[in-house]
């Protein structure tokens, strides 16, 4: 029982990351009709926004301490972040400690900017091209973005801590009368889950209750008609792309304490999120979210040792297996519409 609750919790968490990326992918696909293979890279760049902010905050000047020596026997250089000088050490420390949540503020404009540049500079020219061309050019872009990040930050994972206030775990078990430590879950993961729910809700609310959102939804349903209405679709496309990029970026920022970011993390998520999008049904936002959580939870269950011992290797293939079954039973995914992406 406890283990099932735990796996549901981990599944929800994994699912929120899939759902956030898939949401952006679907938004882009549904409105712009573009298959964006660089979406995983946007997630990765988001994560590196957090790294960058963390490094910026730690930007230091060097004080030479004659009393200590470094590994080569030279006087030791101690780096003092400028922020300590400005804010005083306690506050400076706190700011650095909170750099991951603070990075949200930093990442939103950066990601929107990157999204807008990407759309204006590249994606725009691919609206009329075949999906294969779109996949290729965005795949090429993903490689380029990834390599640029690697050039600056190296290939190894970079540790990013959650604020110390969120370190540790919450004991659910005690609440409902289980043994102590039987259902514990890290605070930060709860934060992540809550955060993604907020973002998902915000995106849906935005689409549901604003005029802008209505046009976008209309565009997703029937692009040609909206074009005929004389609404300036181009500008809206750009904004939608920016939003999708920001959603992916934020998913990345908040994920850094869970998964130490490395330059390749985008590719790992890309394939899975594509499976998620397709299982959800191309072009369906609720489908993407639903499939994200569904596959996250399934993956968690498949990782339970009871399951793995019964069917060896199932934990490695469960997502693909489920995707295959769903696609064969429901040709257009869980909530897909007819005719989308079938040519």
């Amino acid at each position: 029982m406890e283990s099932i609750i735990l796996q549901i919790l981990t599944g929800l968490d994994k699912g929120s990351a899939y759902a956030l990326i898939a949401l952006g992918l679907t938004l882009i696909f549904g409105t712009l009709g573009v298959v964006n293979f660089a979406h995983g890279a946007l997630f990765m760049i988001g994560a590196f926004c957090a790294v960058t902010l963390h490094r910026l905050l730690q930007f230091s000047h060097v004080v030479i301490d004659e009393t200590q020596t470094d590994f080569l026997g030279n006087p030791r250089k101690i780096e003092v972040p400028y922020i300590y000088d400005w804010l005083g050490e306690p506050l400076g420390r706190a700011v650095i400690d909170w750099s991951v949540p603070l990075a949200i503020l930093f990442a939103v404009p950066v990601m929107i900017l990157i999204g807008v540049i990407m759309e204006r500079g590249l994606i725009k020219h691919f609206y009329k091209r075949s999906h294969a061309d779109q996949i290729l050019v965005t795949f090429g872009l993903a490689i380029v973005l990834q390599e640029i990040i690697k050039a600056f930050y190296g290939a190894n994972p970079i540790p990013m801590g959650a604020p110390s206030a969120f370190v540790g775990s919450f004991d659910f078990g005690v609440l409902v009368g289980f043994d102590v430590n039987s259902v514990i879950y890290p605070y930060w993961r709860l934060v992540y889950f809550g955060f993604s729910m907020v973002i998902i809700a915000a995106v849906f609310a935005f689409l549901q209750f604003t005029t802008f959102g209505m046009v976008v939804r209309a565009g997703m349903a029937d692009r040609e008609t909206v074009g005929l209405l004389g609404i300036n679709i181009d500008k809206r496309f750009t904004i939608v792309f920016g939003i999708a990029a920001a959603v992916a970026g934020l998913a990345g920022v908040m994920y850094t304490p869970i998964l130490s970011p490395n330059y390749n993390m985008g590719m790992d998520f890309l394939v899975l999120s594509f499976v998620v999008v397709v299982v959800g049904g191309m072009g369906s936002l609720p489908g993407a979210v639903l499939a994200g959580f569904l596959l996250g939870i399934l993956q968690s269950f498949a990782s339970m040792s009871v399951v793995v011992e019964t069917i060896p290797g199932i934990n490695q293939v469960v997502i693909y297996l489920v995707a295959m079954i769903i696609l064969l039973v429901r040709p257009r995914g869980l909530m897909g519409r007819k005719g989308v992406m079938e040519d």
Binding site: L122, A132, V137, G140, E147, V271, V278, L327, P331, D343
Partner: protein, 397 residues
Amino acid sequence: MLGLTRKDTILFLIVIAMVICAPVLLNPFPSNSALAQFNAGYPDLMQRFLIFGIFAIGFNILFGLTGYLSFGHAAFLGAGSYAGVWMFKLLSMNVLPAILVSILVAGVFSVLIGFVSLRRSGIYFSILTLAFAQMSYALAYSVLTPITNGETGLQLSLNDPRILDGVAAADGSLPVANFFGVEMRDSLDVALGGWSFTFNAGYYLCAVFMILAFYIAIRIFRSPFGMMLRAVKSNQQRMSYTGLNPRPYTLAAFVISGMFAGLAGGLMVAMDPLAGAERMQWTRSGEVVLMTILGGMGTLIGPVLGAGLIKYLENILSKINDNVLHQWFSFMPDGLENVIVTLIHPFVGKGWHLTLGLMFMAVVIFLPGGLVQGGQKIAALLRRKKADPNTVKQPAE
């Protein structure tokens, strides 16, 4: 000739000539010059050109003709490779049975995957094939280790049964893949002036298969079957209402391209008897997609060019390190030398992926038809310069 039209015959003869002369053509720089870095005429790379050429030619029969974008063809390459190594281990070091069984196993495997995946089209098909390939990869890497030897990859060992060849060589070294006694690594080195050329037996075996594969591809392209495949891509609705069943046509194309991939896998292990699980990863499938598009999808020669270009970059660019750069630009004043090296540095050596990514983008943006289209544009430009500017543009073949 050979039942081909004049134009195709010329193309075919050119390809044959290029393949035969490749050991010379690919080594244009004297082996001691600084530019020797760019020589590609060594057996391993030349074999890879041909093997991946075969892989891409086959993939193009599916993708280029029917438009079905498979992200799972690496699974057939891998299946063929494993089958090949198992033939070496169990039967004989002769490459012929290994290659034939590779083709067969990949064929059977592709019938299974194709039958299921082709129930869907568009991106749904792509994701289904991707799912199959990723599952094959994940299982080959872990659970199927008894068959695949997991991470290390399946290789020969001294205590393999090899029922036809009997026990391993007397001196305790591993036996060598051969074609009725001709060892795949046998070669003829010719030093001519500062140049040296290597004519390798394995390469020429690959060449025979590649030429055969290319010939089959031409025949398929020009056959009624090929026309039907193009019809699948163009308009499936019309096709059904014309009395044609698209499913067996696409399945046949899928299986043919899977068998080409199996042949490529078999040749890979014939040249170098090791089959690793990474061969099945989706990025490998992505690679063959890129080769096909880079060269020009739906064209005969395009995939071969694309395969060559990508393998060339991978093998040559990744070996250019800073030392080599400094060596090249050492004639410059030190300051300038360092600036130039710093500028080039991110694009070579460990940064070769960056160059690759930029190149894809450039090709897709500016040359949607790939290198073949680039060639046609240049040809058209030259023709226009010579002839009347109002010459009618020929539709691209």
